[in-house]
């Protein structure tokens, strides 16, 4: 089919809005740079009207077009025998055997959550679930990676409370368990919190639905909630830096209705059981515009829309508003011609709106009618793929110095451990996760608090392991190592349960890419991530980029959050990370050299805020360690495994004591660096047969050190350290509730 790129006629001006003359100010308000606007005019072959300008502005926003990041995203490994669908669809899809597929994605809702934490977080959860069930999957697990400002910042408590309520309010109502996540507090997020929501769904490999629309004349159908003026220009808001006036932008925040989403989910699943759907797309950021452009462009067709058919909640909405509204809980579908009545019956039975709002054409153009007139006529290809791709200048992050080991001589290990167990980064997240329904659907085998969450594939012996990870302070100090570490830690957390890591999604949160040092962080983090994905056979199948997380020139730490998914064939072989029984042997796998640069020990004990080199990641060893751990778990040789991460080895051991109040005795004393260093690639492993474990390690040529035995109700090291597990438990549990109490 040839695409007609010249407009047959100039659209008649719509009553009010399209009469407005397009001035440089209006162009700037739409977030388009002058040279970008020149490109718009060139693609159109004429001056766009206001509606068309609005459509271009959202489609070419950073949020929708990835114009600063695309060049670098292309370099990430995205394929493998397990990959059914990589990046570019609503969500990634991987094969988990027996005709089952796991469908997942992570997405940011940072800016809306800062402005209105409850609704911002709630609609973030709603949006990511729609991305997953649009693909034909039933969501089975939600995760959240949250970053808040310093606990002492006056807004932090309010934001924590609002975001947690919002996530719970939405996810709990839908009935999808929230099974885990991670939370950091750091002053770099004072003006830009990060709310990254991940959803994992299950589908059959032969029932995956895609966005590509085909079939000239096929009806384009709108289902779900009605359209209001919510979030108009949310996509452009997510692509601009904040200033103090941003809080005035409150009215653009969308309001979520989880009840309607639950109905939409059930109705879509019912329709998907038939073969009536050709293509389906969530109306997320940039709403009707982006969903129709993406469906038509991916299918290489054109689309004509009649906005008079769009179900509206408010009166006198202009075409501009309808096209750009980000009202939630809506979907756009292309149906096989003639199948409208059965589809309509399903949606009406669930109490949802259903309207045929257009059809597919062979023009390669998007043509929009409203109130009997044509209000927009635009070529699709430049809208979808023609956004300028920037090769933004970047400067590499200078190498950070190594920390001076003489700084850390005479530490009281007991005091340091207590401080770390009760610090904002390690303290228990129970106050948060008990507000989430982690058990609904009856398949949560391991919920929040473990290394990775385990969710059974309903009715089978298989289980998915899911983990979200990144250590932003490492990414700040040395983006390449930080990028590697984020992927490696997800790999490690999944391996620690016994599951095989399969693929990742990511949510790349950075500052303003127009600053070369920020762009440098982005480029280098991706370089590290890519190397780790390659080395660990852990490809990227979906993701999202959130740039401009910056307020008054203060950017966040680079935060490329990774959401990893793995599979264990028999969930009964999976292990937990807490000591269960006394008199078991405790080992640590991997070398402990005592790397304290960028560690929590540096932040909370040395209280040194200089930037030192983070621990480096040996990817080859990482892979061998992962394989070794999984082999021993699946052979039943070890029965408790915990990866060593924030706070180092002693914190890992303390964490293992807490859940069942089982202590441990470590035989040999050592330096603070040994106990709190954050050397990578390590796991604590526990088993009954010490000789067998050691023999396996010897045979594999890996470093495995004996530490001591489980038992008692104290954590003791040689003659020096004696701490009751109860005391550690209280320190660990009390920080967050105490903090949240003082509202």
């Amino acid at each position: 089919m040839t695409k007609d790129t010249t407009s047959p006629e100039t659209p008649t001006e719509n009553a009010h809005i399209n009469d407005t003359e397009i001035t440089p100010e209006i162009v700037a308000e739409h977030g388009l740079k002058p040279d970008e606007y020149e490109k718009v005019v060139a693609h159109m072959g004429r001056t766009p009207n206001m509606t068309e300008l609005g459509v271009f502005s959202v489609m070419w926003s950073e949020h929708c077009s990835y114009k600063s990041s695309r060049k670098w995203l292309k370099k990430l490994p995205v394929s493998g025998p397990q990959v059914i669908q990589g990046p570019g669809e609503n969500a990634g899809v991987i094969d988990i055997g027996d005709g089952d597929a796991a469908v997942f994605k992570m997405e940011s809702h940072n800016h809306p959550s800062f402005i209105e934490p409850y609704q911002g977080a709630a609609t973030g959860v709603g949006g990511i679930m729609r991305d997953v069930f649009t693909m034909g999957a039933r969501p089975v697990a939600n995760m959240n990676a949250l970053r808040f400002g310093d606990p002492s910042h006056p807004k932090t408590r309010h934001l924590v409370a609002g975001v947690v309520h919002g996530i719970g309010g939405y996810g709990n109502c839908i009935g999808v368990p929230t099974v885990g996540g991670e939370v950091n507090f750091d002053s770099c997020y004072n003006g830009n919190i990060l709310v990254n929501a991940m959803c994992v769904g299950l589908a059959r490999t032969d029932k995956i639905f895609y966005a590509a629309a085909t079939g000239i004349g096929a009806p384009v159908v709108y289902v779900g909630s009605k359209t209001g003026r919510d979030g108009i220009h949310g996509a452009t808001m997510a692509s601009a830096e904040f200033d103090d006036a941003s809080e005035e932008k409150r009215p653009t925040v969308q309001v979520g209705d989880p009840f309607t989403e639950k109905l939409l989910l059930e109705a879509c699943q019912e329709l998907m059981a038939s073969d009536a759907i050709i293509a389906i797309q969530d109306m997320g950021a940039a709403g009707l515009t982006s969903s129709s452009v993406e469906m038509a462009d991916k299918g290489g067709v054109g689309i004509v829309l009649d906005l008079d058919k769009v179900p509206c909640r408010e009166t006198h909405m202009t075409g501009y508003e309808m096209l750009l509204s980000e009202s939630q809980e809506r979907m756009l579908m292309v149906l096989k011609p003639g199948r409208e009545p059965e589809a309509e019956a399903i949606f009406l039975r669930w109490g949802l709106d259903f309207a045929v709002v257009g059809s597919l054409t062979d023009t390669g153009r998007m043509v929009v009618h409203h109130e009997g007139r044509m209000i927009a006529d635009m070529p699709l290809e430049p809208l979808a793929d023609g956004a300028p791709e920037y090769d933004r200048p970047y400067t590499p992050t200078p190498l950070a110095p190594q920390i001076d080991p003489s700084q850390v001589d005479d530490t009281n290990i007991t005091d340091a451990l207590k401080t770390l167990m009760g610090c904002s980064e390690i303290a228990s997240r129970r106050w948060i996760y008990e507000q989430y329904d982690s058990m609904v659907m009856g398949d949560t085998l391991a919920g929040p608090g473990g290394d990775a969450a385990l969710v059974r594939v309903h009715g089978t012996q298989k289980a998915l392991a899911v983990s979200t990870d990144v250590t932003p302070r490492y990414c700040l100090a040395q983006p390449i190592e930080g990028g590697k570490q984020a992927v490696a830690e997800a790999y490690r957390n999944i391996s620690a349960t016994g599951a095989t890591p399969l693929a990742i999604t990511n949510c790349l949160n950075f500052g303003n890419p127009e600053r070369p040092e920020i762009m440098g962080q982005f480029v280098e983090c991706l370089e590290g991530m890519g190397a780790a994905c390659e080395a660990l056979d852990f490809p990227v199948v979906s993701g999202n980029v959130s740039l401009y997380n910056e307020t008054n020139g203060q950017g966040i730490n680079p935060t490329p959050a990774i959401g990893g998914v793995g599979l264990i064939e028999d969930f009964e072989k999976a292990v937990g990370n807490a000591f269960i029984q006394a008199d078991k042997y405790i080992f640590v796998l991997g070398k402990t050299e005592g790397h304290l640069g960028s560690s929590l020990y540096q932040r909370f004990i040395l209280q040194d805020d200089a930037i030192y080199a983070p621990p480096s990641v040996d990817l080859e060893l990482e892979r061998k360690h992962g394989e070794f751990v999984r082999d021993l778990i699946n052979a039943g040789i070890v029965d408790v495994v915990h990866d060593v991460s924030d706070g180092g080895l002693l914190v890992a051991l303390a964490e293992m004591c807490l859940p069942h109040n089982v202590g441990c005795h470590i035989e040999d004393d050592n330096t603070a660096g040994f106990w709190f260093g954050e050397d990578q690639g390590r796991y604590v492993m526990v088993g009954a047969d010490a000789d067998k474990i050691l023999a396996q390690a010897n045979a594999s040529g890996l470093t495995l050190s004996y530490l001591g035995k489980t038992g008692g109700t104290e954590l003791t090291i040689a003659e020096r350290v004696h701490i009751s597990v109860k005391e550690l438990h209280d320190i660990h549990e009390n920080w967050l509730p105490d903090y949240m109490k003082t509202v």
Binding site: G175, F259, T260, V440
Partner: protein, 222 residues
Amino acid sequence: MQASVIVFPGSNCDRDVAVCLEAATGKKPTMVWHGNSDLPDSDVIVLPGGFSYGDYLRCGSMAANSPIMKEVVLKAQKGTAVLGICNGFQVLTECGLLPGVLMQNAALNFVCRNTRLIVDNNTTPFTGLYQQGEEVVIPVAHNEGNYFADDNTLDELSGEGRIVLSYAPEDNPNGACKNIAGICDASGRVLGMMPHPERCAETALGGEDGKRMFTGLVEALS
């Protein structure tokens, strides 16, 4: 034993409880849509957990007025056993089959965690396989589980042994009066409870204390 599960728009534990009922009875329960006005004969009717009608207005209030509930009330009056779990308990109080009301949790937060419960009455068809006074662990997951009734009603409930389940005193997750976790009607055949027995009916999910409720029903009603 044949079970029916009522499905309201927004129910989300309907499948979970159906899985447990099928495991206990060997038969798939009948799933009945809220808009139906006839309810097939069954030995037990289950009102599942979830957020019927989005929990808008008040939890359970709109579900209590849905067409199928007229039938549920009629069947209950004729002696069919009815089990309301979580949102189902809220529906039972809203439709008047059980007294009192479930208010927002005292801490104003949703709470999802295991709770220790005491079985205060093991003579109902639901609790026959538990020991009187036995402590069991069953999770809760709710935002409105704070049972409230006037003093007369509370006295009546405890005097007649209609408090079937209570939270261990130091483990009350929501501020409920008299630590009430579950109550029954005067006949003992309508039970409303906030904890979710369907979430702990197999060891892989962390416990089997909930399973006896379903197997006990089969013994009592078959």
